[in-house]
């Protein structure tokens, strides 16, 4: 009893200093609130951008449906305005739209007459697969090339960083055509029309992975070469560790943080930016859905895809944060 009593004031003091939520929970709540703000901002920006586009939305819907480009009479537009509520004040349209988002309802496509959820869920798998394979290939290429060439003799180092710079700047369309003509048409190793098959993903993923690998390689190489001369590396060498082992186990770990950051960005960029590759290799995906929807001012689809891409960025950045602490344990307490 006495013991309990005596310990109580100390407990109370700790409790008073401790916030209602543990730091960990608080951090998660903060992240979630930030994520919600990002999503709301993206959705609002997409909505406003669509509203700000020149011309009349009902006219666009009607013209896209008929492959025409002329002005339309009020009689022609009346039914479309009524169907999609386009005659309502912008604020009402916006509230309708945000209300729908909160209910998880992204609306119905103006052109395909079907729910946006259906359109996105049908296409997102192909895109995520492409993104994942691209990322893996880019990492493999980058690690292979950097480990092979960084911190070698002058000529090889120059070649190494030269290739990084050139590949990072390769236009995807040109690279894609080259890969298609050589490996699909010339050698017949892969299908020309990628589709969603396993062998069909190699060339599209390579088209995106090669420039990305070059880009990440540029960021990694400097850090890699700096680490090679660090004291702990010399220690490791003295311990008799092989050069390859040192490069892969010690140096790489120090050098890849910038590339990890870039990967977070690349995930988002690939999802929305894969459209060139999708069109070249005839792959379905969110990129082409977005382009088609923007072309036809299919607002529900555009905003739906934008919200999805924003959500992916949020998740990717969370993953990157997490990866930091795994790669560099010192960050766990920072």
């Amino acid at each position: 009893m006495t013991r309990t009593l005596s310990s109580r004031p100390a407990d109370a003091a700790t409790a008073a200093r401790r916030p209602i939520l543990s730091p960990r929970v608080r951090r998660i709540v903060e992240k979630l609130v930030a994520a919600a703000v990002v999503l709301w901002g993206a959705a609002t920006a997409a909505f406003l951008a669509q509203i700000a586009l020149p011309g009349d939305r009902a006219t666009t819907i009607l013209n896209v449906r008929s492959g025409q480009t002329q002005l339309r009479t009020p009689e022609e537009l009346a039914s479309i305005n009524a169907e999609y509520g386009l005659q309502n004040p912008i604020l009402v349209q916006y509230l309708d739209y945000v209300g729908g988002l909160l209910r998880g309802d992204l609306g119905v496509s103006y052109q395909q007459h079907r729910p946006v959820w259906g359109i996105i869920s049908e296409q997102v798998g192909a895109t995520l697969t492409l993104t994942a394979v691209t990322l893996v290939l880019a990492w493999v290429l980058m690690i292979f090339w950097v480990t092979l060439t960084a911190g070698r003799g002058t000529k090889i180092r120059a070649l190494g960083s030269g290739v990084d710079t050139v590949t990072a700047g390769l236009p995807p369309y040109w690279l894609g055509i080259l890969l298609l003509l050589v490996f699909a048409l010339g050698l017949g190793w892969f299908p020309v029309i990628g589709g969603t098959g396993v062998d069909g993903i190699v060339l599209p993923a390579l088209t995106l992975a090669i420039p990305l690998a070059g880009f990440m390689g540029q960021a990694t190489r400097t850090e890699f070469e700096r680490s090679l001369t660090a004291p702990f590396i010399i220690t490791a060498r003295m311990r008799g560790m092989s050069d390859l082992n040192i490069r892969l186990r010690h140096v790489l770990r120090h050098a890849i943080l910038p590339a990890v950051t870039l990967s977070g960005w690349a995930i988002g960029a690939t999802i929305s930016g894969a459209v060139i590759v999708e069109s070249l290799f005839t792959r379905p995906g969110i990129g082409s859905v977005l382009i088609t929807a923007v072309d036809s001012q299919d607002l529900p689809v555009v905003t739906g895809v934008v919200v999805l891409v924003a959500a992916t960025y949020v998740v990717a950045n969370l993953l990157v944060d997490l990866a930091y602490t795994v790669i560099d344990p010192r960050m766990r307490n920072s």
Partner: protein, 550 residues
């Protein structure tokens, strides 16, 4: 140091070997003959892999890309054959009353939609009302001003009542915009279902549609109603058409060459000769109707002046631009009103203008545009001779077409025109931003049609009580409209063609619109696939008669 050096050598060798291997590999290429052996036999079934360019949002609709697709699934009342004769399809016979105001169609017996309901007069009448109400926006335009009502007289006889005589009425019904759908499907299914898989009585039904990738057309095994110009009766030979959407031209051609596509649409002019030399079958169809033409804004800006319109036309060597870019595949078209494959085509209108820079300069000088600025553009009262010329790239104007327009821009510069050629994205084009009277000085575009009646759509006056936004020259002229209306209603074919020609010459004389090139529909087909043909109303591919040989 020695160790380091050795290592560097090894790495260098590795890299060199890799580069050498890449180079060696890229030197290889596909080869071998693609021709089937002599006496190759027809094989049963199979799947046609077809590479098309653009993917519409719905199978059925008022856009030509939809017409190409819906043609596979829906039957029309009548069909157009190679000789431009109307032949039976769902309708066995048809007749217009003496006053041309009442049309009677008698249907084939025993035809069913693929949902099991009968193709009867009631269904046909329902389709007419459906189109006119906007169910097909382009069909509605054709019916506008003429169509009044449709009624079923008995099970197989349908009567259509018109407001004005229209001898070409049946001919217009051969376009796939007038594909007949199941009344039950239109009434009971959702808009989404009728968009993605309309129910007709056609040779194929819509299977799975993987958006962004392909759409499957499955054989209708019970097909009994091919048009009279089909090459065989009954169901299609092939089991399936895998209608792939391959937007990139390089990929399309590569897919054909790699054997992944049996047929492809829209072969780029630069690949045409090579594809032919390699032994692929080539089909080319010049779409009748309005060609790819430029029309001048006659309501606002510099081209309200007829002489400036003429100066612009004289400054262009249109034929040489089209021949250079089109490599002999894309035909030059001088006529701005209708293309050379349209009945009633006027050579005189087509030949009205040829390249004459001197004349262009004279006309401009006479109009007071005498000074030139440092870039060589003409100036009058401190104002430069600017021409706003937006075009819809990628959809209405393809890549070859865009190059031709750049040629126009270059040539007009010699006469002192500063052509502001603006490629506009589809959304901006469709939004109407560049469509109004302030939107352009010159507009470019085509409109397919089976006869010169397209002039009624393109040149009818735009009046408050009867708006016509398809009049892209903003040219309101009761006299021109009268010629076209009389042509539309003329019962005698020669009289009709003479009137249509008169309208074309009227348009040419005033330089309201001039032609650039004829819009093409091209196909390249692997010779293992036989009897793919292009239908005569719009040049879409027909797979009902297609079969493989081995």
């Amino acid at each position: 140091m020695t160790l380091m050096h050795k290592h560097t050598l090894k790495t260098a060798q590795l890299i060199a070997a890799g580069v050498a291997a890449m180079l060696a590999l890229s030197g290889c290429s596909a080869g071998g003959s693609i021709q089937p052996e002599a006496g190759a036999k027809q094989v049963k079934g199979g799947t046609v892999s077809y590479g098309h360019q653009q993917e519409p949002a719905c199978v059925f609709g008022g856009w030509i890309e939809q017409a190409y697709l819906s043609y596979q699934v829906l039957d029309n009342l009548v069909s157009l054959d190679d000789n431009h004769t109307i032949v039976p399809w769902l309708a066995e016979t048809w007749q217009a009353s003496d006053d041309q105001l009442t049309w009677t169609f008698t249907l084939k017996e025993g035809v069913s939609f693929t949902d099991g309901t009968p193709v009867n007069a009631e269904a046909i009448a329902y389709n007419f009302d459906y189109w006119a109400a906007g169910g097909n926006s382009t069909a509605a335009v054709w019916l506008g001003g003429y169509y009044e009502s449709a009624e079923a007289l008995d099970e197989l006889t349908v009567q259509v009542n018109l407001a004005k005589p229209y001898p070409l009425f049946a001919e217009n019904l051969t376009q796939a915009y007038f594909g007949i759908q199941s009344k039950q499907a239109l009434e009971t299914r959702t808009e989404e279902e009728n968009c993605a898989s309309p129910i007709g009585s056609g040779a194929f039904t819509v299977g799975e549609w993987n958006r962004g990738e392909n759409i499957e057309l499955l054989r209708n095994d019970d097909y009994t109603s091919p048009p009279a110009n089909a090459r065989h009766d009954g169901a299609a030979y092939v089991e399936k058409v895998d209608w792939k959407f391959i937007s990139d031209a390089t990929t399309r051609v590569s897919a054909l060459r790699a054997g992944e596509a049996d047929a492809i649409y829209d072969v780029p002019a630069i690949e045409w000769a090579g594809i032919g030399e390699q032994g692929y079958d080539q089909l080319k169809y010049v779409t009748p109707g309005r060609p790819q033409q430029i029309s001048f804004n006659t309501a606002r800006g510099i081209f309200t002046d007829e002489n400036l319109r003429k100066a612009f036309v004289y400054s262009l060597d249109r034929e040489s631009i089209v021949d250079t870019i089109g490599k002999g595949v894309i035909p030059y078209e001088g006529n701005g009103a209708v293309s050379r494959t349209t009945p009633g085509y006027s050579e005189k209108a087509a030949d009205a203008y040829s390249f004459d820079l001197e004349k262009a300069n004279q006309l401009l000088d006479a109009a007071g545009w005498t000074e030139r600025d440092d870039d060589g553009y003409r100036v009058k009262d401190g104002k430069r001779l600017d021409v706003l010329f937006p075009y819809s790239g990628g959809t209405i104007i393809n890549a070859d077409g865009a190059s031709i327009l750049q040629g126009v821009q270059q040539q007009a510069k010699a006469a002192g025109f500063n052509v502001d050629l603006i490629p506009i994205p589809p959304s901006a084009a469709a939004s109407g931003k560049y469509s109004g009277v302030d939107g352009y000085d010159i507009s470019v575009g085509y409109w397919t049609s089976v006869n010169a009646g397209i002039q009624y759509i393109n040149w009818r006056q735009n009046l408050p009580e009867s708006p016509n936004n398809w009049n892209s020259a903003f040219y309101n002229d009761p006299q021109l409209e009268d010629i076209i209306v009389r042509a539309n209603s003329a019962a005698d074919l020669d009289e009709q063609n003479a009137l249509y020609a008169e309208a074309q010459e009227y348009i040419a004389d005033r330089a309201l619109s001039v032609g650039l090139y004829d819009r093409l529909s091209t196909l390249a087909v692997n010779p293992h696939l036989k009897d793919v043909w292009q239908e005569s109303a719009q040049g879409g591919p027909v797979f009902h008669d297609a079969y493989f040989v081995e």
